[in-house]
């Protein structure tokens, strides 16, 4: 356990060393989501409706997608590809570490830091769009949402080639977001 804690600390420090690029990424991703919100506001303000989704549903959907993308998607498959191609993976094989726990620890430390950054971006978006956001009223809805997030996390093996795909493309991610919509509140 101690070696994984050390690994966690080293990767945490490594992530902090390149914090500027991570902050720019999160800020830029917030702007990207704001463009999508412009698209949907333009559609809805022209008097249109997408299925039975209200404008609040749609905005909440995209804001959640932003949070989930940041927390769930993992780019360690790219590191793994580089290590295999360049032959550095052999060094890893002789280390007394379990590969799954190793990658899990590395990923966990980066994601905790990203969660802190994304909370700040989320708060800014929430401030400007607070009239559109909707939160579930029932505790069970929150439970299903968090449970589906964990299932989603578990379904993301380290070398998944399409790991950069948007969370909205994945059925489980869609289910997580589905739980949040007001008319579908799971009570």
């Amino acid at each position: 356990m101690k070696k994984y804690l050390t690994l966690f600390r080293i990767n945490w420090q490594n992530s902090l060393q390149y914090r500027a690029s991570t902050v720019i990424y999160i800020f830029g991703y917030g702007l990207y989501v704001s463009v999508l919100l412009y698209l949907w506001l333009s559609v809805y303000h022209a008097g249109n409706q997408m299925g039975d989704y209200s404008v609040s549903d749609m905005i909440t959907y995209y804001a959640l997608q932003m949070v989930m993308n940041t927390l769930i998607l993992s780019y360690i498959s790219w590191d793994l590809i580089d290590q295999i191609r360049e032959g550095f993976f052999s060094n890893f094989l002789v280390k007394p570490l379990h590969s799954l726990f190793y990658w899990f620890t590395i990923n966990l430390s980066s994601k905790i830091l990203e969660a802190i950054y994304i909370s700040i971006t989320g708060l800014v978006l929430f401030f400007f769009l607070r009239e559109y956001f909707w939160f579930p009223r029932h505790l069970s809805t929150w439970f299903y949402f968090i449970l589906s997030l964990f299932l989603l996390r578990g379904s993301d093996p380290p070398a998944r080639p399409f790991s950069e795909m948007a969370a909205g493309d994945c059925p489980l991610a869609s289910f997580s977001i589905y739980c949040f919509c007001p008319d579908r509140d799971l009570s």
Binding site: Y18, Y25, G28, Y29, L31, Y32, V35, L36, L39, S42
Partner: protein, 266 residues
């Protein structure tokens, strides 16, 4: 002047030939890349088809006009990979490992060398092919066509390429300070994804932000509006003005930033 152009064209041709051979070694990878690009472009077409089942226009653009917009962004992306894009993606590695030293001592501008060295025909080939098809299909379905449409469209495609280049230049100038470029270029990728939405969806401060600071509202819309019959004098002049301003600003920022490069050795 002509000698310089001839030398740069020769360099470009040599790098293109060399990189193409490299890419063709992995044939299955090449086929998958092209097929995936085509697939994702199709996903976008389906996405807009679903929206258009519920709406008549988005920001005043109908479905066929949006096909031209989507296709134009695909073509611009392919042109970018054929000129500079892949080089900027790799710049972080050059700076982190100190390999950028080698670019500085070569008898050619470092940013040109960086761009040319990594030019790739296949990285976005599927998008380019699909882009041309979408533009052709969209244009064929529009009622009003003019003789000047196509040359004007090509001019504004080139103009958008300059905007895209300048934006990449400005963003990647910061790599000399922050060292890592992967996240920066992921953000550029995301922004280019949104260039396929018409400029008319933006209002207020967002319109100014996505015109002058992050110019994604012009990159696709300006050329597409020419073919779609939605171009206006102010939009086209704005597009050329932004391209020139960003090119000058981007080059200045790059020049200042490059002075902060401190190699990787002790």
């Amino acid at each position: 002047m002509f000698e310089t152009i001839r030398r740069h064209l020769f360099l470009y041709g040599s790098f293109l030939k060399h990189n193409l051979k490299n890419e063709m070694i992995y044939r299955s990878n090449f086929m998958i890349l092209v097929a995936m690009d085509i697939f994702f472009m199709m996903v976008n077409v389906v996405f807009f088809s679903i929206i258009f089942n519920n709406v008549k226009t988005i920001g005043g653009w109908n479905f066929y006009q949006l096909l031209i917009l989507m296709g134009s962004v695909g073509i611009i992306r392919e042109l970018a990979y054929l000129t500079f894009r892949q080089g900027f993606i790799n710049i972080g590695d050059y700076i982190r490992t100190g390999e950028f030293d080698l670019l500085l001592v070569k008898p050619v501008s470092p940013k040109l060398h960086l761009g040319f060295r990594h030019i790739s025909l296949t990285e976005s080939l599927g998008e380019g092919i699909m882009g041309i098809i979408l533009v052709a299909v969209g244009y064929a379905h529009l009622p009003d066509k003019h003789l000047l449409d196509i040359p004007l469209y090509l001019f504004f495609l080139f103009n958008s390429l300059i905007i895209y280049y300048s934006f990449c230049l400005m963003i990647n100038s910061s790599v000399f300070w922050i060292i890592k470029s992967q996240e920066l270029n992921t953000i550029v990728y995301y922004f280019m994804e949104t260039a396929r939405y018409p400029r008319d969806i933006y209002k207020g401060i967002g319109k100014a932000l996505f015109t002058f600071i992050i110019p994604i509202s012009l990159i696709g819309t300006a050329p597409a509006s020419v073919l779609a019959g939605r171009s206006t004098g102010p939009l086209l002049f704005l597009s050329v003005g932004v391209a020139l301003t960003l090119l000058v600003t981007g080059s200045l920022i790059w020049r200042v930033s490059i002075r902060h490069y401190s190699s990787a050795s002790s």
